[in-house]
């Protein structure tokens, strides 16, 4: 049994948050030179695309971007299992000496980010890698922290955080679905 979902961010809230995150990404990297924005499949990719567009509008430059599917780098194939269809990984031909910013929708246990770091290492040796997430819901199982956080929310284990994006879900919204205690 689950209770009615509660909205954490509405469309305007998501847009406002992404604009702030885009500014922070540029500031963190002292501009846009050698900057590569990489979204984690699936919804991290849409958020990354929007951040790239915001940076283009603000700074007047095209930032290199890519998509990362971490399915094959998960550490839980036997217990959790694969998604049936593995998504695409599309990255610039080299990440050597680039300043990479990983974008994801929700930061939870940290295992997705660990897998993303492993995968990025197979594509080169970036000068640095930063992590930017729309939602940090706590509950870390690994020593991983985001450099840029859109919104921090307290969510009990077992409750769901869903980031919905217009491109895939038909609307922009961040909702928490709480589990009934009984």
């Amino acid at each position: 049994m689950t209770k009615k979902p509660s909205t954490v961010l509405d469309p305007r809230g998501i847009d406002r948050t992404l604009r702030r995150m885009a500014d922070q990404i540029v500031e963190l990297n002292n501009g846009t030179d050698n900057l590569v924005i990489v979204g984690i499949q699936r919804r991290g990719v849409q958020l990354a695309d929007r951040i790239v567009r915001i940076i283009k509008a603000n700074e007047g430059v095209d930032v290199v971007s890519g998509a990362l599917d971490i399915t094959l780098y998960r550490d839980d194939l036997q217990t959790v299992g694969p998604r049936p269809v593995v998504g695409a990984t599309t990255l610039p031909w080299t990440l050597d000496d680039q300043k990479v910013v990983i974008i994801d929708d929700v930061l939870y246990t940290g295992r997705t980010v660990r897998a993303a770091l492993d995968e990025l290492a197979d594509f080169g040796r970036p000068a640095r890698i930063a992590l930017a997430v729309l939602i940090d819901r706590g509950g870390r199982e690994l020593p991983i922290h985001a450099d840029i956080i859109g919104r921090t929310v307290e969510v009990a284990p077992g409750h769901r955080v869903d980031v919905l994006v217009e491109e895939l879900d038909g609307r922009d919204e961040v909702v928490i679905t709480a589990k009934d205690e009984d």
Partner: protein, 319 residues
């Protein structure tokens, strides 16, 4: 734990169209891995896979080995001639002994039809059929489907003709099952002596003249003529076979459309296929080899996996 394909991959006959599409869709990102500088992902790290080959095979074994290594599995190759089989050990004893060494999967090639299923029913490890007698060669069928899908998009309504020794071909059977399940129109063409009786009951059209097949088809899957068939009296001579059934550029030039040419290899150039066709612009034979590694990676991955729907939910925080 059984994944989306179940415990074993024994043939395309037992798979649904949806399961076949799942393997083909999954193989696409795996093909991308083979194009990376580091052609390896850690997905099957810690898994041990035994390639148990009771029949000579180079390309299938190497293709499986590449697939296994690119998924970071540990692999062991066992050839029957070097194993205790040569001392009289049974198939089940061989497999049980290997399983006692804590292996996770067996890829088996065997001259007897049904050997893969026989093994799968008796051991806990996942079993992949890499060709059993004249029964099935599912990963070859899947790589053919992937190659055709690359060319045509959806296969529904496409006309595919399998040419040559259909009678002894496990590739033909896997092709017929897979293609018909995905909605393609399938035909066979070859000497009557090399076509199974009542092949029409599998839902295929029969052509006795290669010219008719070429006029009809969008693609020809040309099978290897096994040379021992000549000694066994199935055909009068290789030269005559080439003259009557050979896929030549002169014949293809008369086709009403560009025909895609497949061949599972190894080829007898100048017998079932001429060199200028095998190396020509319509040949996808090397694409088949590339796709073979990707399809086998996908099959290994899907057999090793657990409950697909839980992966996305875990990220969101669902229990």
């Amino acid at each position: 734990m059984a994944g989306p394909l179940g415990k074993d991959l024994l043939g395309l006959a037992p798979l649904s169209a949806e399961q076949i599409r799942l393997v083909l869709d999954t193989a696409i990102p795996f093909r991308e891995i083979s194009e990376r500088a580091i052609k390896k992902v850690p997905t099957l790290r810690g898994a041990t896979i035994v390639n148990l080959f009771f029949e000579a095979s180079t390309r299938t074994r190497i293709s499986f080995e590449f697939a296994e290594k690119r998924l970071s599995a540990d692999t062991v190759n066992v050839a029957a001639a070097q194993s205790s089989v040569s001392k009289g050990e049974t198939l089940v004893d061989t497999a049980r002994n290997l399983e006692a060494m804590k292996i996770d999967m067996v890829v088996i090639r065997h001259p007897a039809s049904g050997a893969a299923q026989f093994l799968a029913e008796r051991i806990e490890s996942n079993v992949i059929n890499a060709g059993d007698g004249t029964n099935e060669h599912p990963t070859q069928g899947l790589l053919d489907l992937m190659t055709l899908r690359d060319k045509f998009g959806e296969l529904a309504g496409r006309k595919i003709c399998i040419v040559g020794d259909v009678l002894h071909s496990r590739v033909a059977r896997s092709n017929i099952w897979g293609l018909t399940k995905l909605g393609a129109d399938v035909a066979v063409c070859g000497p009557r002596s090399l076509l199974p009786n009542a092949i029409e009951e599998m839902g295929v059209t029969v052509f006795n003249r290669i010219e008719e097949a070429i006029e009809w088809a969008d693609a020809l899957n040309v099978l290897r003529l096994q040379l021992e068939r000549m000694q066994a009296g199935y055909i009068p001579s290789l030269r005559e076979y080439n003259r009557v059934f050979g896929v030549t550029s002169a014949r293809l030039d008369k086709a009403p459309r560009d025909i895609v040419i497949l061949h599972p290899g190894p080829m007898n150039r100048g017998v079932e296929i001429d060199s200028d066709v095998a190396d020509g612009p319509h040949s996808v034979i090397l694409d088949q080899v590339t796709n073979g590694v990707a399809v086998r990676m996908a099959a290994l991955y899907l057999l090793a996996g657990g409950k697909p729907e839980l992966a996305e939910a875990a990220k969101k925080g669902a229990p």
